[in-house]
């Protein structure tokens, strides 16, 4: 343990995954919202797309390991790659211990 310092452990990351429908996939929620906006007087809004945001915390040795794990998680679970894309944002919070 010589030379090991107190914060030399896994790091904690704050993760945000934004799931959106892939380009070209019809988005009935987005188009419904867009169609209703003029009724409220918002006439200039175009290209409404609805997605979802998933946030969690993750322990990993470093940022690239965290990103790799989250991308695997997205591919296998959080998105359906047939119709959805994901955008991952990973931010270091602090040393986990």
């Amino acid at each position: 343990m010589v030379g090991r310092v107190w914060d030399d452990g896994p790091m904690l990351f704050s993760v945000q995954v934004e799931v959106s429908l892939r380009e070209g996939v019809a988005d009935p929620q987005g188009s419904t919202i867009e169609r209703s906006l003029p009724h409220l007087g918002f006439d200039g809004v175009r290209g409404v797309r609805v997605g979802k945001s998933i946030r969690f915390e993750l322990e990993a040795t470093d940022e690239s390991a965290a990103v790799a794990e989250v991308e695997d998680l997205c591919r296998r679970f959080l998105t359906n790659p047939v119709i959805e894309d994901s955008h991952v944002t990973v931010t270091a919070v602090e040393a986990a211990r």
Binding site: V25, A26, P28, Q29, T32, L78, N80, V82, I83
Partner: protein, 224 residues
């Protein structure tokens, strides 16, 4: 000996007893397969019924596909066993990778609950072998996310291989190519949004689901 059909029960399934009833009406044995048990208990065919497995959280079928029973269902399908997914069950089978494509929210965000006409476009599958090609069946639908979609390449493959087994006569949900039901390349896995188990008696408005479910029982009686 009567064929044994296993009907998968997830938390949130709600059509399992209709399927049990329909199978028994046709002279088969039917039993529940619990989602937490990693086995299909030696049944001859599996039905993944409709409902809202695991509350449809995240996406319909996204969580159900990780249930212990689904590993056994996938292995059963890969060994040639007949598997049919109805409505939410279709969504589960696409998420599990047993069938291609995905089911999106209906065109116009419309929940559809009505009886529709389906055209039998292929009789080469475990759910359509006893139906007549080109015949029109009246079967109920009841779904919000039944708008079938897939890549253009996959759509070509489905057409070329005769994998689209059922099409809507009047498309109710925006599905590409009017697709109501598809089969896999092995023809032993079928997914469809309509509910044949709710069309088993004239008292229910239609008994056009019977040729479909009797096809499944016929497939179940053939050793895989």
């Amino acid at each position: 000996m009567a064929s044994r059909v296993g009907v998968v029960l997830f938390p949130g399934s709600n059509c399992e007893f209709d399927v049990l009833e329909a199978v028994r009406l046709l002279g088969g044995d039917a039993e529940i397969l619990w989602h937490g048990d990693a086995t299909v208990s030696g049944v001859d065919a599996v039905v993944v019924p409709g409902g809202f497995a695991h509350g449809d959280y995240l996406r319909p079928g996204a969580i159900a596909r990780f249930s212990p029973v689904m590993d056994a269902v996938v292995a059963f399908a890969n060994s040639g066993g007949p598997v049919v997914g109805i409505c939410n069950g279709f969504q589960v089978l696409t998420e599990a990778g047993l069938l291609p494509g995905a089911l999106q929210k209906n065109r116009g965000l419309k929940f559809v609950c009505t009886t529709v006409e389906l055209r039998v476009d292929s009789t080469d599958s475990v759910l359509t072998s006893n139906a007549e090609k080109g015949s029109v069946l009246r079967v109920p639908i009841n779904h919000f996310e039944g708008n079938y979609t897939c890549s253009p390449e996959m759509l070509n493959q489905l057409r070329e291989n005769d994998q689209v087994v059922l099409r809507y006569v009047d498309n109710p949900n925006g599905s590409v190519d009017d697709i109501a039901g598809i089969t896999n390349e092995g023809r032993n896995v079928v997914g469809l949004m309509p509910h044949p188990e709710r069309a088993i008696s004239p008292l229910l408005g239609s008994d056009d689901g019977l040729p479909l479910l009797s096809s499944l029982l016929a497939a179940a009686s053939v050793p895989a």
